[in-house]
Symmetry: C2
Subunit: 199 residues, 2 copies
């Protein structure tokens, strides 16, 4: 298969690339590096990315940012950032990708634990993750040509604990490798509309 991994240079992305590249042709897309440059917040950038890659069987997105702030300091503008970046960035990668993927191709998105188990500062993440899980469950029933879509919702990643630990006390981290397995299950399996919880 030919697999595009957006955010393939990130903490989880590197593990996804490692897991998939032994069996598949992997193309890495990222904001500042990789085989193709893309800023998922910018729909024109997404369109340009797809113009540069052909014959895709799978698109994986391990990318997306939100603000972490106390609820009392959150504003419509700060929420809007997460809605445009992590939420609509991923949704636009799907919507623009539909016409580029081969029949029976797959999309695999990324949400996260915070809409199931909130942490202080995480209201934007909770909102965006919930929106993504809902969108994926929906999109599975309308995608054409046997295209599939799933989403991976991991807890905090071991490799990120150096900076994230104070915000995730009591959460058992999973390794980036464990998270990567869920992306492999989505890309190489046959499921659609699934939220893969990795925790």
């Amino acid at each position: 298969m030919k697999v595009l991994v957006i955010g393939g240079n990130g903490t989880i992305g590197k593990s996804i690339v490692k897991e998939l590249s032994s069996r598949h042709e992997v193309i890495i897309a990222g904001r500042s590096g990789g085989d193709v440059v893309v800023d998922i917040e910018n729909i024109d950038s997404i369109r340009k990315m797809y113009e540069q890659v052909n014959d895709l069987d799978a698109v994986v997105i391990a990318s997306g940012k939100v603000h972490f702030k106390p609820l009392a300091e959150m504003t419509p503008e700060l929420y809007s950032f997460g809605l445009h970046n992590k939420l609509m960035g991923q949704v636009n990668v799907v919507q623009e990708g539909i016409k580029h993927l081969n029949d029976k191709g797959s999309f695999t998105l990324t949400s996260g634990i915070l809409n199931r188990e909130p942490i202080i500062l995480g209201s934007s993440a909770a909102m965006v993750n919930g929106a993504l899980d809902g969108f994926v469950k929906h999109a599975a029933i309308e995608l054409p040509r046997g295209l599939r879509i799933n989403i991976v919702s991991p807890t905090v990643i071991s490799e990120a604990m150096e900076s994230y630990a104070p915000f995730f006390r009591g959460f058992k981290p999973v390794s980036a490798y464990e998270a990567a397995l869920a992306y492999s299950k989505s890309v190489e399996g046959a499921h659609t509309g699934q939220v893969y919880i990795v925790e």
Copy 2:
């Protein structure tokens, strides 16, 4: 208690008002009628609404719109409508309301079944409902002064089946009265961070 019901003239809203008004002072807010006029999509309109009502113990929102279109016809602009109206409209009612509610007051929002059981045309609703459920589960852990927040997620309402039935074949509708009971449980109970599923 003094309860503000936004969307109190709608299908569910009327039942909420009926259920609560026998025991509480109910103020109805709506886009085109009621005791106070409000457009939840407009944050200045939300601020003006709160300036007109004092001493609130509870705010209920039974209001919010999204577009229903095939996935293939959805655009960032059409998604944006739902994100601004049903999602951020309700979020802004909470954020602006925090300083107006009495201690131990409550917010009760409205999502819906479509992020759990998608229907054709419902991708925006699935996204927005998921976002709202996630936000509410989060906000409960950061609200000050004992303020509570819950959300009611009903299936299709019997009273709306005349126009909605073709989109909800096989779904067992619930009456607006049954949905209203969940709002009562939120307002008059002690829960917080709950998604009340009514189906």
